[in-house]
């Protein structure tokens, strides 16, 4: 299990990486969203906000009405934010569960892919 601190640390590194990527910022144009993260094993909840092409700080607990809810284990969240896990693979195997529109799901995966693979 990953602690909340580990997830916060991983997220901070991921957010810096995303916000420093010019192409990714272009891809976020017009995509202002609230994303809730729910860790199945620890019960920790977080909120990610994307506003004006910038990925915001990680807020503790579920804040506001979400556009997207991501449910996974704490380990998967930490690995995902470090870029050590392919979220699509976990999603296609049913280990990461999502609620939200297909377009938002795509964008979220794109964030992860472009940040680490720059495709």
């Amino acid at each position: 299990m990953a602690s909340a601190e580990e997830i916060v640390e991983a997220y901070a590194a991921w957010r810096d990486r995303c916000n420093a990527n010019e192409r990714l910022r272009r891809m976020l144009r017009g995509w202002d969203r609230v994303v809730h993260l729910e860790a199945t094993d620890t019960g920790d909840r977080f909120t990610v906000t994307v506003h004006e092409q910038t990925v915001g700080e990680l807020a503790a607990d579920a804040v506001g009405a979400p556009d997207l809810v991501v449910t996974a284990t704490s380990e998967d969240f930490a690995d995902l934010f470090w870029g050590d896990l392919n979220p699509s693979e976990k999603y296609m195997s049913g280990e990461i569960v999502l609620a939200g529109s297909q377009e938002d799901v795509m964008r979220l995966d794109a964030l992860s892919m472009v940040a680490f693979l720059d495709q």
Binding site: M1, A2, E6, A10, R23, R26, M27, W31, V34, H36, E38, R45, A62, G64, A65, P66, D67, L68, V69, T71, E75, A78, D79, W82, G83, D84, L85, N86, S88, E89, K90, Y91, M92, S93, G94, E95, V97, L98, A99, G100, S101, Q102, E103, V105, M106, R107, D109, A110, S112, M113, V114, F116, L117, Q119
Partner: protein, 480 residues
């Protein structure tokens, strides 16, 4: 492992699909322009105006399919459901082969709609039939460009388009029957002058009239309430029965053989109902159906291909994104492939082959769904089933047999005569899929595994007590 989309503990989604949009999505995906050609093709197999009986029988079978997809969707409420339930029900290579073969249905439907709309436009403007090929390229070009720009039809527009299509089609079909001033011919005796085999063919085509209603299960993650998916599909099947029964009856009642075998029987139906104005109305309705098909078909197929490529089951190039986060390679590929198929159909006048191929593929996937329900009842008996199909074991076996037979029947008959071309098309699609899965994919997966192994783990080692598995875990197969 998976759970209903709306069962998360967090707040309700800000944007979620209600029942109305779920119904319109399910109905709209099924009611493509190809519906008119399938309806016209169906009436050749039954006596007089009795096609509604074949449509109703097919509706009962569609209800069985509804049960299968309802149960599977409840277990795996995700856009990736087809991968999840098939992977658990059978060998992954077989699952991937069937999935890729099934995806060719989307290409067929997009191609068919482009062809039908292109032909209708050319006819309405009095242009030569070859100009339909130009319209096909223009229409698919527009669809590709709008997809690449990330434009998608809003739910409310889709609702309006779908319900307009259904109401307009029903009104025109009803008016065509009423204004013919002729009594119905053999409305209750489909076998009059026909064999039982003909009726089976009619039912196989009838199943195709409902096909794709289940594609709404890919929206399971965005519905307001999980039960909206199976309720929406049920309502959609009911709506499709009402409209398709009316259309087939009207077509057999007022259209000539020449009109029924044309590429735009719906235009003649409109003319029978309201003259030239009715013809233009049906042309507009046909264009509206294409809006749903192009929107739903391109998005569903391209996103699925993207996710499968990201998963490592297709080449990585298929996951390339443009600056609007659209997987541009699958979108362009779908457009080119659909245009090629549509132009070939336009030039060869083989649209009934397209209908028969689609009918065969859809019956095949319904048989596969029956198999998955049966297997998962055995393999995952304790899995939570929010929607549990009544009599699943009996109906599962029945569905497997009936849909299997219908798949074979539909694949070897075109316009009421033996023709194995649809079977050959399906066999080629299946053969190419199997070749890719068995011979090409292992190499792609090996290269991907090697690439991932060369990427050092980014997550710093954890300073934790010995024995903690998270402290020094090896790189996982899922590494980016």
């Amino acid at each position: 492992m998976t759970q209903p989309a709306a069962a998360h503990r967090g707040a309700t989604l800000r944007r979620a699909m209600g029942l109305r949009t779920t119904v319109s999505t399910s109905t709209g995906l099924a009611f493509a322009a190809l519906e008119y050609l399938a309806a016209a093709g169906l009436v050749a197999y039954v006596a007089g105006d009795s096609a509604w009986i074949a449509v109703g029988t097919a509706g009962l079978l569609a209800l069985m399919a509804w049960g299968f997809f309802g149960e599977l969707n409840g277990m795996f409420p995700t856009a990736a459901a087809i991968r999840l339930y098939m992977k658990r029900a059978m060998d992954d290579r077989a699952a991937l082969t069937i999935t890729f073969t099934y995806m060719s249905t989307i290409v067929l439907v997009i191609a068919a709609d482009a062809f039908i709309v292109g032909s209708a436009i050319a006819h309405m403007f009095g242009q030569a039939s070859w100009s339909a090929a130009l319209w096909i390229v223009v229409l698919l070009g527009l669809a590709v460009v709008s997809n690449l720009r990330g434009i998608r039809v809003a739910g409310s527009v889709q609702d309006l388009a779908t319900y307009t299509v259904l109401v307009a089609t029903a009104v025109i079909a009803g008016a065509a029957v009423l204004r013919s001033h002729h009594a119905l011919r053999f409305p209750l005796t489909p076998l009059h002058g026909h064999s039982a085999g003909d009726f089976v063919e009619a039912v196989a085509l009838g199943v195709f009239l409902y096909s794709a209603f289940e594609w709404v299960t890919t929206n399971a993650e965005e519905v307001r309430r999980p039960e909206h998916v199976h309720r929406g599909m049920l309502i959609a099947v009911g709506l499709l029965f009402c409209v398709c029964a009316l259309v087939t009856m009207a077509m057999s009642h007022v259209l000539t053989h020449h009109q029924l075998t044309s590429a735009f029987p719906q235009l003649f139906l409109g003319r029978s109902a309201f003259g030239r104005a009715g013809m233009w109305a049906m042309a507009a309705v046909t264009a509206l159906t294409a809006l749903n098909t192009f929107n739903g078909g391109f998005i569903t197929a391209s996103r699925f291909i993207y996710a499968t490529a990201r998963e490592g089951s297709l080449p990585r190039q298929l996951a390339l994104l443009n600056d609007r986060a659209v997987p541009w390679v699958p979108v362009v590929g779908l457009g080119v492939l659909s245009a090629a198929v549509a132009v070939v159909v336009a030039v060869s006048h083989s649209w009934q082959v397209l209908v028969a191929t689609g009918a065969g593929l859809e019956a095949m996937i319904y048989a596969v769904a029956a198999w998955c329900v049966l297997r998962l009842r055995s393999r995952m008996p304790d899995q939570h089933r929010p929607f549990s199909m009544w009599g699943a074991r009996v109906l599962g076996v029945a569905g497997l047999v009936v849909f299997g037979l219908l798949a074979v029947t539909a694949s070897v008959s075109v316009s009421n005569r033996f023709d194995p071309v649809p079977l050959v098309v399906i066999a080629v699609a299946g053969g190419l899929s199997a070749f890719y899965v068995l011979r090409v994919l292992p190499g792609i997966r090996a290269a991907e595994a090697a690439r991932r192994a060369s990427v050092p783990r980014r997550r710093p080692p954890r300073s934790s007590p010995p024995g903690d598995p998270g402290a020094s875990r090896p790189i996982e197969a899922g590494t980016q």
